[in-house]
């Protein structure tokens, strides 16, 4: 086992800091710093669907808007949302929807907006982690939180929470991963790279363990605001 480029051990997360209730106008919000990543998340809803026909008579519609600021990446990003942002928005919204009791709010919309203002690999899982906290802050009834983390391979080692340098390694495999921490159900899972079945089995265990560490940080952040013992 070798130290990673930034000195971490394979199962070490980068420092994570979550603040709750940072966007005053929103019904719920959170700010996350995860390594160099800095992301704001805000929740509006349940609210009226506009236009009405997007509503669903059986459950709330969940929309998730993942966006990156133009200056949040090394090369200036076009202000128009790209295909990557649209795909991430789709799968992240689906992941959160699994945890929300949407059936309690038919014909409404729950809107989640996240804005990445600085980035260094792993923004989608950091954003999802913040968004879950923002949903809790908004008082949306949930089965469980969603806790997310990147897992993968870099420089011949299986690791959690890859940073940009690791993502750029020749042999890099990047796996955005999210679970409902209490049931260990996987709600987000993507992958890019060349991975064996055996590697995946190890990584999945590492991911569940790491996501549960993220969960503790999420709970702590919510406690700091609400002084509640258990979510």
């Amino acid at each position: 086992m070798n130290k990673r480029p930034d000195g971490r051990n394979p199962e070490d997360l980068r420092p994570i800091k979550i603040e709750v209730g940072v966007i005053q106008r929103a019904d719920g919000s959170a700010y996350i710093e995860w390594g160099q990543n800095k992301i704001y998340a805000a929740v509006y809803g349940p609210k009226e669907c506009l236009p009405k026909h997007i509503g669903n008579p059986y459950r709330a519609v969940v929309t998730y808007n993942y966006r990156m600021a133009t200056f949040s990446v090394p090369e200036r990003k076009n202000p128009k949302p790209g295909r990557r942002e649209i795909e991430i928005s789709k799968v992240s919204g689906e992941a959160l929807e699994r945890a929300i009791f949407t059936e309690k709010f038919p014909n409404t919309e729950i809107e989640i907006d996240v804005e990445v203002i600085d980035s260094n690999a792993g923004t989608r899982v950091a954003a999802l982690t913040a968004a879950a906290v923002a949903l809790a802050d908004a008082g949306i009834p949930m089965r469980d939180l969603i806790s997310a983390v990147g897992i993968g391979k870099a420089n011949g080692q299986l690791v959690v929470d890859l940073n940009k340098e690791e993502e750029d390694a020749e042999d890099a495999v990047d796996i955005p991963f999210a679970i409902m921490p209490n049931t260990e159900e996987i709600v987000l899972l993507q992958m890019d790279g060349l991975l064996t079945k055996e590697e995946w089995k190890i990584l999945c265990e590492m991911g569940i363990k790491a996501a549960k560490q993220v969960y503790e940080i999420q709970k702590q952040a919510l406690k700091s605001k609400y002084f509640v013992e258990e979510l």
């Binding site: 295909r83 990557r84 795909e87 789709k90 699994r98 049931t183 159900e185």
Partner: protein
């Protein structure tokens, strides 16, 4: 039968699946009949159509010329686009690709790209200046479920069918081909599993998809690698479910690869 009805009979569909009954008599881990046709259009540099039961997808390749990305000066590139044609379903609209089309295109793209099936170095004409760009466009003509696997198969087939166009003075000579094929070093196969309660279905029909909340896709190569995962939909997967999907994917991919 239309989609609204499938929503209404969702419970019945689930009951039958639990008894192991699929509408067309397949077992849960079986694909529908697959039909691949190559070279379906002359103006494309490569093309193929795939029928997966009634699901019907076309793929076409055009080569273009361009500058390489600054961080990979001796590599060509691939660009994958998908159109869920309005004709393919009463629920698809005319217009630019929506999030569903974009997800589909990107998953197909990743499965192929990450497998290193295409040797991007071989697409370099002059380092830092001129490279081949592969434009691979997918057209869904009929959606009867499992667009992911049908599209990935059509994409791979079209690439396999592709020949480089003629080039003169750094420009493509239209309507002339070289007969030099695009070599594929691997054949990555996408396998999508649809979760209906505790069942994992292979190659779900649209009716079955309507009874499901979750989907998991894994792209596998002949030499034991996985090159892409994608979980989609509102459902969730347990670790052991993912593992079962992976095992089955390697098994089924071998059968599918033989069709190419």
């Amino acid at each position: 039968m239309n989609e609204i009805i499938w929503d209404l009979i969702k419970d019945k569909t689930i009951d039958e699946l639990k008894k192991g009954i699929r509408e067309d008599g397949r077992s849960l881990d079986q694909y529908r009949p697959i039909k691949i046709e190559y070279g379906i259009t002359k103006n494309a540099d490569g093309s193929a159509s795939v029928k997966l039961g009634n699901t019907f997808v076309l793929a076409g390749v055009k080569f273009g010329l361009g500058e390489p990305y600054p961080d990979s000066p001796n590599e060509g590139a691939i660009s994958v686009g998908t159109e869920l044609l309005a004709m393919a379903s009463p629920s698809f609209d005319v217009g630019p690709p929506d999030e569903n089309a974009i997800e589909l295109a990107r998953v197909v793209d990743r499965g192929i790209r990450e497998s290193k099936a295409i040797d991007f170095n071989s697409l370099c004409i002059r380092e830092g200046e001129l490279v081949w760009i592969i434009y691979l466009d997918l057209y869904v003509l009929n959606d009867d479920g499992n667009l992911f696997d049908a599209s990935a198969l059509a994409a791979l087939s079209a690439l396999k069918n592709s020949k480089f166009p003629k080039m003169e003075n750094d420009k493509i000579v239209l309507k002339e081909s070289t007969n030099i094929p695009l070599n594929l070093k691997r054949l990555p196969i996408l396998n999508t599993f649809t979760k209906v309660e505790d069942l994992l279905l292979v190659d779900a029909s649209l009716k079955e998809e309507k009874a499901s909340d979750g989907r998991f896709s894994v792209c596998v190569t002949e030499d034991g690698f996985m090159t892409a995962f994608q979980k989609g939909g509102i459902g969730s997967f347990k670790k052991d479910e993912i593992d079962r999907c992976i095992d089955l994917a390697f098994k089924n991919a071998e059968l599918l690869r033989k069709l190419l």
